[in-house]
């Protein structure tokens, strides 16, 4: 059952809310960014040798580690010519006092499903090339996301870290008969690099990539995923509150611009995108 998590509503918080909104009216933010400026992004790939692919992405102090393990299995019966992937996410209790040990709660499940949506609907992977023997044997990619340090907005660095791990992921090769080709490896066939931008809304103002100090003061927020052709491939309003209908178009435009900048950075470090 979904229930309202504890959230501070003290007097101090209200002062913070005022401050954040007043700064926004002047085009400023508490950490000296401009409204449409994401935090510093760093991308490291191949950080876990035992994984087939891995990436550590920081967005400010938020840090996401994604690892991919590959297994062989049978395809879904209605898609006999396609490989399979599944996304899991854990909000590690190391990362924040608001994360509890135990199986993923609704936030972890939500994160996994939003990343899955971006990767799947953004057609990031050429799944047909992950089929070894049609109907019998395909690659199965387990994309597992761990939030290591949480300072707000785990969506965008998680999508990016999943894509960086996929783009650098190595698979053992098999013959068409399903025999292991010793010593031969291939890359995961990447068709597109969907990325996401999280937009926060306070009254009539909009900002990107909220840090955790800002998240508490937002009226609401929304994650927009786009592919390289600027198609919208995923939307997920991820917190309570209202978005005035007239703001939606500019929100999409801002997301497009942000994702463009992120994509340039991703391409520079990872080499695709």
């Amino acid at each position: 059952m979904s229930f309202i998590p504890l959230k501070e509503r003290s007097f101090a918080v209200r002062i913070m809310n005022d401050k954040i909104y007043k700064l926004l009216q002047q085009g400023k933010r508490i950490d000296e960014r401009s409204p449409y400026e994401f935090r510093k992004i760093t991308i490291q790939t191949n950080v876990v040798e035992k994984a087939n692919g891995s990436a550590l992405v920081s967005m400010g102090s938020t840090r996401i580690l994604t690892g991919i393990k590959v297994e062989l299995g049978t395809p879904y019966s209605d898609r006999p010519n396609e490989g399979v992937f599944s996304v899991n996410a854990e909000l590690l209790p190391l990362a924040s006092k608001s994360f509890e040990p135990g199986p993923p709660d609704e936030r972890g499940i939500e994160l996994a499903r939003v990343v899955d949506r971006c990767v799947r609907e953004g057609k990031a992977i050429d799944l047909e090339k992950l089929c070894i023997v049609p109907g019998k044997m395909v690659y199965i990619l387990y994309i597992d996301i761990y939030v290591l340090d949480y300072d707000g907005n785990y969506f965008d660095p998680s999508v990016m870290s999943a894509m960086a791990a996929l783009a650098t992921c190595t698979l053992p090769r098999y013959s068409a008969a399903g025999e292991r080709l010793e010593g031969e490896y291939m890359r995961v066939p990447i068709r597109d690099v969907p990325l996401s931008a999280t937009i926060g809304i306070i009254k009539d103002k909009v900002l990107v990539d909220p840090c955790s100090a800002e998240e508490g003061s937002l009226d609401t927020s929304i994650v927009i995923g786009m592919d390289s052709a600027s198609n919208v491939v995923a939307i997920h309003k991820n917190s309570p509150g209202h978005i005035p209908l007239h703001l939606m178009e500019s929100i999409i435009d801002i997301a497009e611009e942000q994702i463009g900048k992120m994509r340039a950075l991703f391409r520079e470090v990872v080499g695709v995108g």
Binding site: M1, F3, S77, D78, P80, E106, H242, L245
Partner: protein, 244 residues
């Protein structure tokens, strides 16, 4: 399950598989006060999609350490019966049901005056009896009515519907088969009086322009649903007046 050829979803005359045009809603039936024991309840049927919602509360929050000193907590469970879908759904909550419980809860939170009931809890239960597309939006529509039926003070009602892209066209109120074989599914929940979005998701691929079209079409559909909601509430009050 065998590999199925993708069916043609819209014919040369612009008719959908069930005969609707692109901007048509499926037959809609809305009732309130349908369950005896809950504090408020509603039933929404949209084509073959059939959803109950029930509300209990405001009541004491339990366990206490989850209660809030300045407002009520709102709990929400979106759940499907095992036989509501083509393939039997496993018992227990799927990850999808967990996610939808969250987005529906967050939409409802946006319109309920929770501040009026500090330290209390309001429970909203949604049960999908049959799933033929648009269950989360039907569930949100029903839940909003069940809250009103329970007499919980709200800023306004919520009405919700899905739009999507099917065979290249933006259409209203996707059925299950359109969702499965179509290009995009976008559930939208709107608070009609303030003209604000309280639920928005997209699964699929749309250009920015198609997104704008879809959002407009959703608003149109939501107006109709909203009127049916108001009508259902009006009927109920009239009948309770008559009884009194």
């Amino acid at each position: 399950m065998e590999q199925t050829a993708r069916p043609k979803l819209i014919d040369e005359n612009g008719r959908r598989l069930d005969g609707r045009g692109p901007t048509d809603l499926r037959p809609l039936r809305i009732e309130v006060s349908v369950l005896e024991k809950s504090d408020g309840s509603a039933y929404v049927e949209l084509g073959k999609t059939k959803v109950f919602a029930a509300v209990y509360g405001p009541k004491e929050a339990h366990p206490k350490h989850l209660s809030l000193p300045d407002r009520a907590i709102l709990n929400c469970r979106y759940h499907m019966t095992s036989f509501s879908t083509d393939e039997r759904k496993t018992l227990g909550m799927t990850r999808r049901e967990v996610e939808l419980s969250k987005v529906i809860r967050e939409a409802l939170e946006s319109v309920v005056f929770l501040e009026e009931f500090p330290r209390s809890a309001i429970d909203v239960f949604i049960e999908v009896v049959q799933a033929d597309g648009g269950t989360r939006t039907a569930g949100l529509t029903a839940a909003s009515l069940a809250l009103a039926d329970a007499g919980i003070p709200m800023r306004e009602l919520i009405a919700a519907v899905a739009v999507g892209k099917v065979d290249g066209r933006i259409v209203l109120d996707l059925s299950d088969v359109e969702d499965k074989y179509g290009e995009a599914d976008m559930p939208v929940g709107i608070a009609p009086r303030s003209n604000t979005i309280v639920l928005l998701q997209l699964n699929g691929k749309m250009t920015k322009d198609e997104f704008r079209q879809g959002l407009m079409l959703a608003q149109m559909g939501i107006q109709k649903i909203y009127q049916a909601q108001c009508e259902a509430l009006r009927k109920k009050y009239e009948s309770s007046m008559r009884e009194a």
